[in-house]
């Protein structure tokens, strides 16, 4: 069984005063296996954020189906959606989305608190995770006191602390300088090596080159995919760049 199955997903937005309809996603179909590290690449406006929102159950598709572990997201009642997200998905965002009123520690614990876990279990989960991410020393600080890279590590810790089935990352290196980006991508590689499934949306070639598989999305459709196989990160980078060149020069490549 696939971990994530996206079948013929279509999303149409209707502008507020009726009339014009915008087709954000035409027909998207793909699967993600357990333990995979997948990147979805596309330009601004290609529909990748819409896709991510639908995968995160923050938005519903117009038609088509999404299955996580064989369970259809559409079948989950509205009331349980929040709990479902909390228990199965972890999020990492471009601008970190940390709450500035909470210490880093409390930011990480937030999903567990909302899930009503006992405090001892929270601490038991937090300590090893913080050590692994190298943020043990700054847990009592507040977001405004630490660097962008440290904020993003905190956000990663928050995503991982619920032991999610799937980590969804939306442009995670978008607000980081190149050194911090490099560190974060290495971290993602390590996490994935430990068995965590990751799905990342990005338009950065560098970020995508760290993934094991890259899906290209254009005008609401998946039009190509690359597997890394035995390629190094640098070779993967070349391949992705070539594909994007083809894309912008108007070539119609189909996988």
């Amino acid at each position: 069984m696939h971990l994530l199955e996206v079948k013929n997903v279509r999303k149409v937005y209707t502008t507020r005063f009726g009339g014009a309809k915008v087709e954000a996603l035409k027909q998207v179909t793909f699967t993600v296996e357990k333990g995979e590290y997948t990147a979805i690449m596309g330009e601004s406006g290609s529909g990748k954020t819409t896709l991510l929102n639908i995968l995160a159950a923050l938005d519903r598709p117009t038609s088509g189906e999404i299955l996580l572990n064989g369970r259809s997201l559409a079948a989950i009642p509205e009331k349980e959606l929040a709990a479902f997200r909390r228990d199965n998905l972890g999020f990492v965002f471009q601008d970190f989305n940390l709450l500035d009123t909470l210490s880093l520690k409390d930011n990480i614990l937030l999903p567990l608190v909302l899930a009503g876990k006992p405090h001892r279990e929270m601490e038991d989960r937090l300590q090893p995770l913080a050590r692994k991410l190298g943020i043990s020393d700054i847990l009592s600080k507040f977001p405004y006191e630490v660097s962008g890279g440290q904020k993003q590590r905190t956000a990663v810790a928050r995503a991982l602390i619920t032991y999610p089935q799937l980590v969804l990352a939306d442009e995670p290196t978008g607000s980081l300088d190149s050194r911090a980006s490099e560190g974060l991508l290495r971290l993602f590689g390590e996490i994935n090596a430990a068995g965590q499934t990751i799905l990342m949306v990005t338009h950065s070639v560098k970020a995508a080159s760290h993934a094991k598989r890259v899906l290209f999305i254009r005008d609401g459709e998946i039009f190509h995919q690359l597997y890394r196989g035995t390629l190094s990160v640098e070779e993967m980078y070349e391949r992705i760049a070539d594909t994007l060149t083809l894309l912008t020069t108007g070539g119609a490549v189909h996988a």
Binding site: E78, K79, N97, L99, L102
Partner: protein
């Protein structure tokens, strides 16, 4: 031609930020209307000719000044708030190439429109309701209701002038703000990562202590005159305590809660406590001010309402009989003369005196320490006790007023005090010792002239001979000889005009006696003066209470709306990590609830603590009906809470809509 663009931009931006503008315009209208009404009532010609109308006009003038002052502060504050909220939009205009003077033009147009709407509609509303208010005022003062509809041109003119100045000042401030700020700064996203507030234990404890001292003062003071003196001291302590507790105490308390991990790491407390720590940092001063303002409104309203409602009580305590004649230093001929003159007047008018009461008193000050009543030089320092005024009368006068005659020996006495019951078996006074034959629950006819302000003690002794002996002993001690006082009180039980006419006759007749100091008092005549005083205060209390309430709730509304915009992102994040819509809603509700009702709860505590002191203050004004004051306070508080809750509901809805608007994105 270009002006057209600016006015169009002004209108469209006002429309866009209607959530901020509508309450501002509403407040401006309300203030203009109330100010006009105050000025209109003040200028009302009918009032000037009424008895006591002059005092009422003076009060209304004062009220108009308060409303005007409040309007200035409040509208200025609100507008300042409005501009700060819109800095981003104005910054965008600037970045897009509009110069600051062009922005100033847009702001000027906005101000012109706001002023026109507020003053125009406000005056309209004021003129329409002014008649209603006039009727209410006349009703309260029990004046005959005038007919016809008036518009006071002078009041209109003053209102227009005052509010034009207010709006011009607001505009000047807005332009100054825009001038000061750089475009990039204008554009920059609101507050990025605000520092967590520090715990200031010293201030928190100081606040607690200050509030404790204020409360202790209010709760322990027994003596009305002490209450008069210490009231303002206690108020200052409570104000300082409130500010410190809101500013430092709240944060210390919340952080203490946060330290309790079992309590803190649960969904509701987690969101509420972490959010409130920041909220209190930003709004503590505002909330404390709201609390103080509400307390003042509540205390003022409940006292003025009870004074007005308890007017009859006050009159009956101040004037135990409808008419009272007091003669200082009399001889037996004087008494006969007074009685015959009064009888003659009453007979001529076909009236008869009822519930007649007559007293001869020997009065002098004394110092009570246990069962010893010390006078003159006997009073030495370091003695514990209270100053009282001592009134001594004979059994003859007393027995005339009670159904069952009492007998006393020469060394026996009856005692009444207006501060609880006399507890000792005997009284030592000027070298004599009297055995207390009985303590009286009430002096018959209230001694004809009780004032509740001072501690008084009435002694009834066997006869005038004993009274004279005491007087002699008092003089022998080296004191100035006290005069004997004669008092005669009676009711007429006739309509007010007749009662007042009879009173004037009696007063006129008795003024012929130039040798002895004689005064005549009439409850019926005093009623008009009391009514205009307490009625005027009552009306003013209601009106100003309304104005303050309007100000208070609008401040809260604006606070909540800004917070809504600030909290938006926070709730989006929480939903992403797994907070359901229902949970968001309940978290919002509990936060709004806390911010809204914290000042109200604190105000309730203040009012409760001030209750005892307020009853003592009312005693000074001869209102001793505690039950009446309690129910007035409860009623006023309930009314205030209902109005407050209505605003809370509306505000919570707006807040939720702002926060929810960002969801789903």
């Amino acid at each position: 031609m270009l002006n057209f663009i600016y006015s169009r931009l002004a209108v469209s931006s006002m429309r866009r930020s209607s959530r901020m503008y509508i309450p501002y315009l509403g407040a401006g209208m309300g203030m203009a209307a109330m100010f006009y009404i105050m000025m209109f009532l003040r200028n009302n010609t009918g009032l000037a000719v009424m008895r006591g109308g002059g005092e009422v006009q003076l009060m209304l003038t004062l009220g108009a000044m308060v409303v005007g002052f409040f309007a200035v502060i409040f509208l200025f504050y609100t507008h300042n708030f409005l501009i700060r909220q819109r800095k981003r939009e104005l910054g965008l205009y600037n970045v897009l190439g509009m110069e600051k003077r062009h922005i100033a033009r847009i702001l000027a147009w906005e101000t012109v429109f706001s002023a026109a709407i507020s003053i125009g509609l406000g005056l309209g509303a004021g003129i329409l309701t002014s008649k209603l208010m006039l009727l209410l005022l006349y009703r309260i003062l029990r004046f005959p209701v005038p007919i016809g509809f008036e518009v006071s041109e002078a009041a209109v003119l003053t209102t227009v002038k005052l509010f034009t100045v207010i709006y011009a000042a607001s505009l000047a401030n807005a332009i100054r703000q825009v001038r000061l700020v750089e475009p990039l700064e204008l554009l920059r996203a609101a507050r990025m990562g605000e520092r967590e507030p520090k715990t200031r234990w010293a201030l928190a404890l100081l606040g607690l202590a200050s509030l404790g001292v204020g409360y202790a003062m209010a709760l322990t003071i027994e003596h009305p005159l002490d209450a008069l003196v210490y009231f303002f001291v206690a108020v200052i302590f409570v104000i300082i305590g409130t500010y410190l507790l809101f500013v430092a105490g709240s944060i210390a308390f919340l952080k203490l809660l946060r330290r309790n991990k079992r309590l803190y790491y649960r969904p509701r407390p987690f969101i509420a406590i972490s959010g409130m720590i920041y909220r209190m940092k930003q709004h503590a001063v505002g909330l404390a001010s709201i609390c103080i303002l509400s307390t003042m409104v509540l205390v003022t309203l409940s006292t003025t309402v009870s004074l007005y409602v308890g007017l009859e009580d006050v009159l009956h305590i101040r004037y135990p009989r409808e008419n009272t004649i007091i003669m200082e230093g009399y001889d037996s001929g004087d008494i006969r003369w007074v009685r015959s003159q009064v009888a003659a007047v009453l007979e001529r008018r076909g009236l008869s005196a009822q519930a007649e009461a007559e007293y001869r008193f020997l009065s002098f000050p004394a110092f009570q320490s246990g069962n010893r009543f010390l006078t003159g030089r006997e009073v030495t320092q370091g003695l514990s006790g209270t100053s009282i005024s001592l009134h001594i009368t004979s059994l003859e006068d007393y027995n005339r007023l009670v159904p069952e005659p009492v007998f006393l020996a020469a060394d026996e006495a009856l005692v009444y005090t207006n501060r609880g019951t006399y507890q000792y078996p005997s009284i030592q006074l000027l070298g004599r010792e009297f055995t207390v034959k009985g303590t009286l629950p009430e002096m018959p006819a209230r001694g004809l002239a009780t004032t509740e302000v001072f501690a008084s003690c009435y002694l009834v002794v066997r006869d005038m001979g004993v009274v004279e002996e005491i007087r002699q002993a008092f003089v022998n001690q080296g004191n100035r000889a006290p005069q004997m006082r004669y008092q005669l009180g009676f009711d007429l039980n006739v309509p007010q005009e007749q009662a007042i006419a009879a009173f004037r006759d009696i007063k006129q007749v008795l003024s012929q006696n130039k040798d002895t100091f004689t005064s005549v008092q009439s409850r019926e005549e005093a009623r008009a003066d009391f009514l205009s005083l307490y009625g005027g205060l009552f009306f003013l209390g209601l009106f100003l209470g309304l104005v303050f309430w309007l100000g208070t709730v609008l401040i809260i509304y604006y606070k909540q709306v800004t917070e809504g915009y600030e909290d938006r992102q926070r709730y989006v994040i929480m939903q992403q990590v797994g907070l359901s819509k229902a949970e968001v809603k309940s978290a919002i509700n509990s936060q709004v609830l806390a911010v809204f009702f914290l000042p109200l709860v604190a105000a309730a505590a203040h009012v409760a603590a001030s209750f005892k002191m307020a009853t003592r203050l009312l005693t000074v004004l001869n209102l001793t009906n505690v039950a009446l004051f309690a129910s007035c306070t409860a009623g006023v508080f309930a009314g205030f809470a209902v109005l407050y809750t209505l605003v809370y509901r509306a505000t919570a809805r707006v807040y939720y809509r702002i926060v929810a608007a960002a969801n789903g994105a």
